[in-house]
Symmetry: C2
Subunit: 140 residues, 2 copies
């Protein structure tokens, strides 16, 4: 019984240290990060094709590039041709690397004619230390 309590206590302690260290690192890293919402309007006739390309390039980038922290594309419910992509890069260098990858270049060239307007809106994150919580809550 005593051993079980010890194990539980150790797990709680380790968990707390893990979460605390993630929060600290997120805070430290946030200064050099590039946080952006890309606001895109797609020509309606290309919407389906565009969504396919956007999903694919987002997934590949997050998976293959360590400097791509997050690419989270969304579609405005009340007007489905409006797309918003929350993008977070570890640094400007990571972003430059990203736009030179073959998967991004393929997406860029392949979707140019589908896009009516594009606005890259750079952001300051107000609470970067709370980003890790997104994950912690997603797994519940």
């Amino acid at each position: 019984m005593k051993r079980k309590m010890k194990t539980i206590f150790r797990r709680i302690l380790l968990g707390t240290i893990f979460v605390a260290s993630c929060i600290c690192q997120a805070q430290e890293n946030s200064d050099k990060m590039l946080v952006r919402i890309s606001e895109i309007e797609v020509y309606p006739q290309y919407l389906e094709a565009y969504l396919r390309e956007a999903k694919e390039v987002g997934a590949t980038s997050v998976k293959e590039e360590s400097g791509v922290v997050c690419i989270f594309p969304m579609q405005v419910k009340r007007d489905s041709k409006l797309i918003r992509i929350v993008e977070i890069y570890a640094s400007m260098e990571a972003y430059r690397k990203h736009i030179n990858t073959s998967h991004f270049q393929k997406y860029k060239k392949g979707t140019l004619h589908m896009i009516k307007s594009l606005d890259l809106v750079d952001m300051n994150a107000l609470n970067p230390e709370y980003m890790p919580q997104i994950f912690l809550k997603m797994k519940k």
Copy 2:
């Protein structure tokens, strides 16, 4: 040596199962989630006070409410009085609960006169299964 290898292998296996289960659960949960970007313009004279309130209510909500998956406020760099808040709630019920909490009500009443315009833009997430990656990468 053999034991060490076994431990490493066990850790890799556990890690893989953990990440895979998070991704699956995120996918399952995404259908009933409420995903939104709140677009806010603040009167310039109240900007500092508003940012303080917004940061506080976001942090408290994520910390105290299990149904608030993410509140991620950002400030538009080129026009600092424009605020964008990415909000993710586990369900409509979680959202309704959130807007009835004392901390949200305090924020709402306390900032009403600071806000020039507010647009709640509901979204469909295109790649919800990649949200957990945000966290995994933040801790690098």
